[in-house]
Amino acid sequence: MRAKGMKNLSFIIPQEAKKPFVAPQPQGGLAGGLSSAARTSIQGRMSDREVDQQLVERAQRGEKRAFEMLVLKYQRKLERLLSRVIRDPAEIEDVAQEAFIKAYRALPNFRGDSAFYTWLYRIGINTAKNYLIALGRRAPTSTEFDSEEAEGFEDAAGLRDINTPESELASKQIAQTVNDAIAALPEELRTAITLRELDGLSYEEIAQIMNCPIGTVRSRIFRAREAVAEKLRPQLGTSKDKRW
């Protein structure tokens, strides 16, 4: 089923695109009467931050496993950010590790005034600068790179620059696996996960667009993720298995 007003939801391979993938925008507004103002409020909603806050509060109460979930969520993002400051992939991994440990130690001081990832990225950038200074290398100045910029840092350009041929190949394989798995999904699952992951819509909005109950949306997104995850599981390892 293709929702009314939806022009194109076909998935593309990010590595083949020169620019970061931008989700196709439906013309004339989304079906279901969502205005541009509504879309702005959707993009500004705090649910992701609230999930992080819950994890932070649990970690602050002594649940290390809650902090591990934050590590699993932000490890790749943090490393992508650090790749703009440090060139060597092994060093990036070390600095990211140190930043996570510093963040854990400083957790009692985190009051939730800013988003957890903003706070974590700031720690990451400061750790990277200190690391470079300790090695006698030139650390980037604040005009070159600022932690505030971290919030808007989403493209993979920096990452591509520092990729070794092996890691670039691995990255392409992962992207290819995801693309193939998404392409093989039934259309209603593909539409649901695309609206969620690329357009950032809530389940309620997706339910309006797809004209189905919210529970169905929840189930479709889960089934889509599970189908893709099943294809990725053979590539899953640990940092001890392979070092870049």
Binding site: D48, I101, L159, L198, L232, W244
Partner: protein
């Protein structure tokens, strides 16, 4: 439970469901791997495919050697609860002020018009009622006038004159 994990990462769970899902995920290695993979899938779809799908075991190992942090719990009122509490407080304050004005404004004996003693012929039963309230005897009108003059807003030209040109005040 995995479906709850999927909804959790989208922020689509009620707080009590989220708490349950987080607890389950933290305790189960398979659930953690799923959490890791689901985030990686989203990133790959947005053109940020990771370089590897390696779980950060090194970080976990270092983390396990860290002393467990325990931050004092902060009681943070939810935004909505704060708004309701403020609205209730404002309502109570308004009712209180209006009630106080009501009791002070019309009913009290002090607000009644002053009855002036008649200077008329003795034995007359007619007593004129003054149309204005009278000032208390202890505050004569002349004193008020002096007060206003002393505290007038406009300074005298003397104050605008440079200090050096000012005429010294006569010695008393």
């Amino acid at each position: 439970m995995t479906q709850e994990l999927s909804a959790l990462m989208d922020g689509e769970l009620e707080p009590h469901e989220a708490g349950r899902a987080l607890l389950a995920c933290g305790a189960d290695e398979d659930q953690k791997r799923t959490w890791f993979l689901y985030h990686a899938i989203g990133e790959a779809m947005r053109g940020q495919a990771p370089r590897s799908l390696a779980m950060p075991a090194d970080v976990f190992e270092k983390l396990s050697r860290q002393p467990t942090v325990l931050a004092p719990r902060r009681r943070v009122l939810e935004g909505r609860a704060v708004r309701v509490a403020l609205a209730a407080a404002a309502s109570v304050a308004t009712v209180g002020v209006v009630g106080w004005i009501g009791t002070q404004g019309g009913a009290g004996p002090s607000a009644l018009p002053t009855v002036a003693k008649s200077a008329g012929p003795a034995g007359s039963s007619i007593q004129p009622v003054a149309s204005t309230t009278t000032l208390p005897a202890s505050v004569p009108a002349l004193t008020v006038q002096e007060y206003l003059v002393a505290h007038r807003q406009m300074p005298t030209p003397e104050l605008y004159r440079p200090v050096t040109n000012r005429t010294p005040a006569p010695a008393r």
